[in-house]
């Protein structure tokens, strides 16, 4: 191996090592635990102050907003189409920013942020964004069929 190749190799290893280390730093800094409402409620101490991606179901009648500031509650979801159990664990969420178009009450959402005491402070709210492989929103077919039947009767 000639000296140029040696130098190159050392440079390459340094670059690769540096990138790996930076990646590790970033990941430990920016990683968010993806958990559900129940996961949090059963072990709150484990997640206090840590970055979280909390999955839950928005509780009907809890969304208050002035267009920019939002307050709502998410509950542990029983599954698609299953109503929230009366004793389901719930977490209030505070969010300031632009709400996705697709956000509404009574739907599955993921909120990203941190717990602040009893309230979850979200920096981002994600809904199941309508994508290429899905038509208009998930419940559309069901709703449309019901509506058509109601119109006829």
């Amino acid at each position: 191996m000639n000296t140029a190749k040696m130098k190159l190799l050392v440079g390459g290893v340094l670059i690769a090592g540096g990138m790996t280390y930076l990646g590790y730093l970033s990941a430990s800094e920016a990683g968010q635990y993806a958990i559900g409402v129940t996961d949090y409620v059963t072990a709150p101490a484990r997640y206090q102050g840590k970055g979280l991606r909390l999955a839950g179901h928005t509780v009907p009648g809890t969304w208050q907003t002035d267009g920019r500031k939002h307050l709502f509650t998410v509950a542990a979801a029983g599954g698609p189409g299953v109503a929230i159990a009366p004793d389901a664990p719930m977490i209030p969420v505070r969010f300031e920013g632009t709400m996705p178009d697709t956000f509404k009450e009574d739907m599955d959402v993921i909120v990203a942020g941190r717990m602040d005491g009893e309230t979850f402070v979200a920096t981002e709210v994600m809904t199941q964004c309508a994508s290429k492989y899905q038509g208009v929103d998930g419940n559309y077919i069901e709703t449309a069929i019901k509506k058509a039947a109601a119109d006829r009767s």
Binding site: N2, A4, K5, K7, L8, G11, G12, I15, A16, M19, L22, G23, S26, A27, E29, A30, G31, Q32, Y33, A34, I35, D39, R53, T65, D66, G67, R68, T98, M99, P100, D101, T102, K104, I110, A112, E124, M126, T127, Q128, C129, A130, S131, K132, Y133, Q134, G135, V136, D137, G138, N139, Y140, I141, E142, T143, A144, I145, A148, A149
Partner: protein, 792 residues
């Protein structure tokens, strides 16, 4: 006619379409087998037969697409896919493009593009690469067979509604409402009509280099011929993929209404990863061409690029990674994983048995050489890809690690988002920019001290001056770690390294021009004497350059005027600069001399300077991304009717709410007047659309684009007594105003990327020997770029 039409629609279309995809699948399998057989047994007739099979697959898939298109255009609700994608209110335009709106149709479309690339490759190379071609046909047929299998038996777009899974509810929906489900409103936009095809062409185009790579490995001929065969296909796919990624960003920017264009979502990452690896390949392949090195590395990069395109597809269609996009799931994911796995096995086997011929013919001689900078760039690009890969797959990896270490499932899933990607991407990008800048200014093999001084002094001086300039000009921020205010260090680093790249391009070109002037002085003199005041190429170039500059100027001066005024203005400046160029070159001998030399240099080194235009495009895009991410001003305010409020540079007045009924939706539009410094700047109509289908409104933002700054208005909320559920009070709207600098540079950079690559890759005309005859007696007169010309 009607009876015939009905017959065609109800019987023939599903039958013919369904039959042709199935036949295409079997023919692709036949093509695969017969081509390999023919190549091994050296049977010409079998090889020919394989090629014909590939052509037939293309024809059958085309027929199938036409059948499906006919059903969609005619709203033939007897097919499940049509009910899913089409409804009664969709205009013709979206009924045509809804072909790639869903999983099944998009896979058929994908298969057709793949077959078209195969047919084009077979036609272009019909008399070339005799030994490689059967294996190329076989590889393409293998990919086509897989796609045919998916479209025929798993994701059948011709599935009759009567056979549709009742749980999906399509049949019931049609019976009850007499209407289809229809394309998602977010996808009913013109960007979605060009973004997916562009992305697909980019993705699928890599099939051809991949096929040649497999062929080269099988036959053991990883040589110049193999490079010639793959270079243009790779450049085409690479630039179109890059452009497609940018179009996707543009769609997100205009349609999703969150003010950004890139969120490191798995879907975006899936398209970005192959592009990064292919960027490495288009550079390292030059090293193999010039120096016979990196054969194995190049093979690895091509194989990886192609695998990543299918891995990306797997990622987006299997549901393995949770994303804000809802993906289809089902058997497709497993099949795609199996396909990718089969390719990995074949590729690994071929590389292992051919490792001897993949050894380099030469070794790197010096660290300060072009090949060394290319190598570092490759390491950086591959590292970038690995970073994106790790970030995308982080939830999967972290969960696996948790499960292994704790022995239980759950709660270990860690997701990373933009805070993970952004700083890493910035660091790597700065490194890549610096390498790009150095690479342009150093020679192959090694660079002498004199050449380093000649090439680097001026660009480094310019860079140094720009550094001071940015420190003074950029807005200062209070950094946590420093006692005084300082401009954002990321911005300074990116901008200064970008200046280094651009200064390098300009300086290198200037050195080249001077060199052509001296070496071609006689040729230029003859042209001058013979009355040739300018060459046609030069006129065209100056016209185009003038038009682009005029467009840029108009974007600043006429920012609020409609697009056509900017286009007209740009055209006018173009014509003016054309006239000026003509006059200037005719009037003054030295000016003619320089310009003629500049034209000669570009025309004779199109590959190199086309590449530099691409570099310029990438650099401008990076500047745009940096500026718009770091210096975005984001404000929000709730207006009552008639209220004026200062936001950013503007006094915004809410003049009233307009409600408009259009087919399939209600449009709620806020009429906003924008005043700047007491004068009217313009009006904006940010709106929300309430679609009859589903209860999700969509946001239509109002964007004022200009070369320096985009003004982006979002209607976040609207209340009015005419809107059900709104209070009986004066109308109110919540408006969010984003001021993002230099966003247009990103789009413009994307266009330059495409244009520069086209210039570099466009096939050369058979050059006449005459050009060699005019060289000076001293030796190489047509420099392959002046900076690179010195050899020891």
């Amino acid at each position: 006619v009607t009876a015939l039409d009905r017959l065609l629609g109800s019987i023939l279309t599903p039958v013919l379409g369904g039959a042709s995809v199935k036949l295409a699948f079997f023919l692709a399998v036949f093509g695969l087998v017969i081509s390999i057989w023919g190549a091994v047994a050296r049977r010409e007739d079998m090889i020919r037969s394989g090629k014909r099979a590939a052509y037939a697959v293309w024809a059958l898939l085309l027929l199938a697409v036409l059948c499906l298109e006919r059903a969609m255009i005619r709203r033939d609700y007897s097919l499940e896919y049509v009910v899913e994608q089409i409804d009664n209110s969709m205009p013709l335009y979206y009924r045509i493009t809804a072909l790639w709106g869903g999983m099944n149709g998009s896979l058929l479309w994908w298969a057709l593009i793949c077959a078209s690339f195969t047919a084009a490759c077979l036609t272009v190379n019909r008399n070339r690469f005799k030994e490689l071609m059967p294996w190329v046909t076989a590889t393409c047929c293998y990919v086509l067979a897989f796609l045919g299998l998916l479209v025929s038996f798993v994701c059948d777009p011709f599935l009759p509604l009567s056979e549709s899974d009742p749980a999906l509810g399509f049949a019931q929906l049609l019976a009850q409402t007499g209407d289809g489900k229809g394309l998602n409103p977010l996808l009913q936009t013109y960007w979605m009509t060009i973004h997916p095809p562009s992305l697909y062409i980019g993705y699928i185009g890599f099939t051809i280099p991949f096929a040649f790579c497999i062929a080269a490995l099988v036959t053991g001929k990883v040589d110049q011929e193999f490079l010639r065969a793959t270079r243009r296909w790779t450049l085409l796919s690479w630039s179109v993929l890059g452009f497609g990624v940018m179009l996707g960003a543009k769609w997100a920017y205009e349609e999703l209404g969150w003010g950004g264009y890139w969120g490191w979502d798995p879907v975006e990452n899936a398209s970005f990863m192959p592009w990064l690896v292919a960027t490495g390949y288009v550079h390292s392949v030059i090293i193999q061409e010039k120096r016979g090195m990196l054969k194995g590395w190049n093979v690895f990069l091509i194989l990886l690029t192609f695998l990543l395109t299918y891995f990306g597809t797997f990622l987006t269609r299997s549901g393995i990674v949770q994303s804000v996009h809802a993906f289809g799931s089902g058997p497709v994911g497993g099949l795609l994983a199996g396909f990718v796995l089969s390719l990995i096995v074949v590729c690994t086997y071929l590389v292992v048995i051919r490792h001897k011929i993949l050894r380099a013919e030469n070794e790197i001689e010096a660290v300060l050489s072009r090949e060394a900078t290319f190598l570092y760039n490759n390491v950086g690009l591959l590292g970038f890809m690995v970073m994106v890969f790790v970030g995308t797959m982080f939830p999967v990896f972290s969960e696996a690690v948790y499960e292994i270490s704790n022995g239980s499932i759950g709660n270990g899933k860690v997701v990373v988002g933009p805070p993970f990607f952004n700083p890493l991407a910035a660091i790597i990008t700065i490194g890549l920019l610096i390498m790009m800048g150095i690479g342009q200014l150093v020679a192959w093999r090694k660079t002498s001290g004199a050449a380093v001084r000649r090439n680097f002094t001026v660009p480094l001086l310019v860079t140094g001056v720009s550094w001071i300039f940015f420190l003074v000009v950029l807005p200062k921020e209070q950094l946590a770690s420093l006692p005084f205010k300082f401009p954002n260090p990321w911005a300074v680093a990116v901008l200064v390294s970008s200046v280094f790249v651009i200064a390098g391009i300009v300086w290198e070109y200037w050195i080249g021009v001077r060199s052509v002037q001296s070496s071609h002085s006689q040729e230029i003199e003859t042209a001058w004497k013979s009355g040739t005041r300018f060459s046609p190429e030069f006129l065209i170039a100056s016209g185009i350059t003038g038009s682009i500059l005029g467009w840029g100027l108009a974007s600043v001066v006429l920012a609020t005027f409609p697009l056509w005024t900017r286009l007209v203005f740009g055209g006018a400046v173009g014509i003016a600069s054309l006239a000026a160029a003509g006059a200037l070159s005719g009037a003054s001998r030295p000016a003619f001399n320089v310009m003629q030399a500049a034209v000669i240099l570009f025309v004779r080194n199109r590959r190199r300077y086309g590449g530099y235009i691409t570099h310029l495009g990438i650099t401008l895009a990076i500047i745009g991304i940096t500026a718009s991410s770091l210096y975005k001003i984001d404000e929000s305010h709730t207006f009552t009717e008639g209220e004026t409020h200062k936001m950013g540079e503007f006094d915004l007045t809410f003049k009233g709410l307009e409600l408009r009924r259009e087919p399939g939706m209600w449009r709620v539009m806020a009429y906003m007047r924008m005043d700047k410094n007491g004068e009217k700047f313009g009006v904006a109509y940010p709106e929300r659309r309430h679609h009859d289908k589903g209860d999700q409104p969509t946001t239509e933002v109002s964007i004022h684009e200009s070369a320096l700054r985009d003004y982006y208005l979002i209607l976040e909320a609207a209340a009015d007594k005419r809107i059900p559920g709104s209070p009986d009070k004066p109308a109110t709207v919540t408006i969010r105003l984003l001021q993002s600098p230099l966003v247009t540079w990103f789009w413009f950079g994307g266009v330059l990327l495409l244009g520069g690559t086209a210039l570099a890759a466009w096939p050369e005309r058979k050059r006449k020997e005459v050009t060699v005859a005019v060289t000076s007696p001293g030796g190489v007169a047509v420099p392959e770029g002046a900076a690179a010309k010195e050899h020891p």
